[in-house]
Structures are given as C-alpha cells and as structure tokens.
C-alpha cells in the first residue's frame, strides 16, 4: 500500500484537495485560462485523430460522456436527499439547473420543448464555457466546440435511464435577445454573437415509460 495509506481517496471528503496544513483547500476554481488550455489540447488531440468533422464531434461527445456519468452520481450524492429522478421533466431540470450550476457556476439560460416534435428539448446557454475563446474556421463548417458538453449531458441522461441523442449547435443570437451582461470573458472581449443550443432527442421507450407513469 502507498506510504501514507490512510489518506486513501475513499477516506477523504469528495473533491478534497490537500493544502500544506493538510486541511481541504477551499479553492474550488481554477483560472478560466487553465480550463481553456486543457480543453484546447483535448480538441487538438481529437482533431489530429479524426477523419471528418462529424467524427471529431463524436470523439468530443464520447470524451464528455464518461464525465457525464460521473457528474450524475456526484451531483446526486451532494444533493443529500438521496433522490433519483424518475420523470422526464425532473431529469431535464436536474441537468439544466443542478448539473449546470455545479459545472458552470450558473443554471442554463433556458430549457424549451420543441414545438413540432414531442421527443425533443433544447437547453440554451448564451456563454458556453467550452467555446469562450474558440473561433471555428469556415472550413470546419457546422462543427460546434461545445460537443464535449453535449456528451456530458448525454452521459447524465443515459446514466439516469433516459437515453437520448444530444447534439450541440451554435446559433446566431438575434438583436436584443440576450440582455444578461457577459460574465466569463475578458473585459475587452466583445459580446458573443452565438449561443449554444443543446438539442436533446429522447428515445421512444423513454417517452412511453414517462407516459405510462403519467397515468
């Protein structure tokens, strides 16, 4: 066993980080730049190994999927109520508020049900952290740098038993649509012209199950 066997991760509080005095470090954030650099390298690593734009998006989604499964358990455990989400709307609220707050420090800007098809929902974020400093070049077309986040959402939903296809889309922000002041960008940075729309398309059996529970 390692020399100080006692400070096994299972004995320390979840998310514990050592400080010289051995107490838990209360610093729960790193600079946005640190995250941006690591994420940029993750994207470049997958871009080097992907043959097409859609494969790059699939790879970023799968990178996020594993994280989503962990985040589901971690956020539920920290919720302390020892509850599980069993209904469609409750898991969507769990994602757009609890998961978003835990990962991005604020809840998603909106959660909407698509009008034309019942199995589709949209989670909107005007300032997705993963594309804070990203400029997708023309030749990469519709690639969204937020595919990693859609993978996280898919991991949370599948884990909870609501399997769904989740895709990230960057959509132009209309004039006056987003009145909230920008939060997580350098002061000199202009306001974002695109928002991230995470399209969640649930599988049929999930909808059936939820319908039976309705009755």
């Amino acid at each position: 066993m390692s020399r100080n066997a006692s400070n096994n991760i299972l004995d320390r509080p979840l998310g514990f980080r050592a400080t010289p005095a051995g107490r838990s470090s209360d610093v729960s954030s790193v600079s946005l730049s640190a995250f941006a650099y690591v994420y940029s390298e993750l994207v470049q690593y997958h871009q080097g190994r992907a043959a097409s734009i859609s494969e790059l998006e699939r790879r970023l989604e799968s990178a996020g999927y594993g994280v989503g499964l962990k985040v589901l358990e971690c956020v539920a455990y920290r919720g302390k109520e020892m509850k599980r989400e069993t209904r469609l709307m409750s898991i969507l609220h769990f994602v757009s508020s609890s998961v978003w707050k835990s990962l991005f420090g604020k809840s998603a800007d909106s959660l909407e049900r698509s009008i034309d098809n019942q199995d589709e929902f949209m989670i909107v974020d005007y300032e997705p952290i993963t594309s804070t400093f990203v400029s997708v070049p023309q030749d990469l077309g519709q690639l969204s740098a937020d595919a990693y986040v859609s993978g996280i959402i898919a991991g949370v939903l599948d884990g909870a038993g609501f399997s769904a296809r989740v895709t990230a889309h960057n959509v132009q922000v209309e004039e006056g649509e987003n009145s909230r002041p920008p939060t997580n960008a350098t002061p000199g940075m202009p306001r974002r012209t695109e928002k991230a729309v995470f399209l969640v398309k649930f599988s049929p059996e999930v909808l059936e199950r939820d319908a039976t529970l309705e009755r």
Partner: protein, 231 residues
Amino acid sequence: MATSKCSQAGQQLWAKMPKVGGYTRLCFAWSVIGFLVHTNSSYRITHQANAELFALTYGSLVTELVRDHEDPIEVNKQLDKIGKSIGVRCVDEFLAKADVAGLGLASQCQSLRDTAEVVARMGFRMFLGVGAECGAFSQDQKSFSIYFHDNPLSTFVELPPAGDDQMGDDLRKLKYSNIYCGIIRGALEQVNLKVDVTLVQCTLKGDEVNEIRVELKEVLADGAGDDYKEE
C-alpha cells in the same frame, strides 16, 4: 480602464526608481504586486472555471491517451508534448496580463532564481489559484525545484496500489501530472531559457509533496527559439 491607469502610475514610479541593482527593483516589484492585486496572492485571472470540471476534463484526456498508447512511458512523453504546446502559449498570457497590471515583473528575471520565484509564486497562483514554492537551488544556481501540495489536476485520482495487477503496475509508471513539466519547459523556452523539467515527487505515488525539478541547459542568445518546430 482601471488597470491601465495603475499601469501608467506603475510605469512612472518604476521609471523614477534609481538605477540600482535588480534586487531593489525586485523588492519594489513585490510591493507593487501586493498593492495592485490581492494581498495574499499575486495577480489572479479574474475569470474562473470549476476546478472539478477542470480535473475531470484533464482526466478524460489522460485516459484517452492511456487507451491510445497503452505504454505509460509513451503517455508521459505525450503529456509532456501537450504541456509544451500549452507552455508556449500561456507564457504570452502571463507576460501580457502581468504587464497590463503594471507589474512588468517578468522583465526583471535576470537570474534563474528570479525566474524560479516568478514561475512558482506567480505562475501557479495565476493559472491554478494554488500556492507553490521554489527551493533546493543547486550550487551552480543552474537548477531548482518547485514544491506544491494542492494539485487541481489530481483531485479525484487514485493510482492502483503496487502489485495489484498488470494494468495497475502500468498505471503506477504513469506520471499523471507530467503536463506541468511540458508547460514550464515550453514557457521558459519562449523566453530563451532551454530547460529540462522532470516530475520527481507526486502525492499520487504517496509522496508528501509534489516536486518538479527544473534544470537550466542553455540560455538561447538570439531570437527566442526561432527554429521553433512542433516536436
């Protein structure tokens, strides 16, 4: 723009400083840091990201590398190479933002000791929000170590204990935080300091503290590594 006003004041104050040895200027710089930013930490980038999302994202990168390369020694090399790609980029942010805050401290890195102080104290604090110390300077002042306890990268990580199984033995040869070495090497190379950087102690292996050893190889005279090419 509050910051730029301070920087002009900082510049005038700085210019009036009598032309004395670097040491006095270094002390002046420390007081400027204290005054301009937080008392207990040097310049910190205002915009933050969740530390656990950061740790999980890095974890996803490392596990992807382990899946693609299997051999832990190769993964260590990849982490160092990825770190270098970050290092050559983040050094400009460090210089630019320290400059805007009127510090211009980086310019005072005449000796390796100053550089060690700046990298350990300001670099780790600015990007990771954690304190790091430097020490163990060699006789010839050519190498030093950076020590830190709080490692945001390895928040949830536990390497399997020795002798668990073959996969476990491999993982124990993995230097999980090796990316730090590439970052420091890349950053210093951009300012003409060719260094070797190795992770010598890691709390994941049961050590008391994380230690990174930095050894100066050569001071590049002309343009900053202008034969820069992707390794």
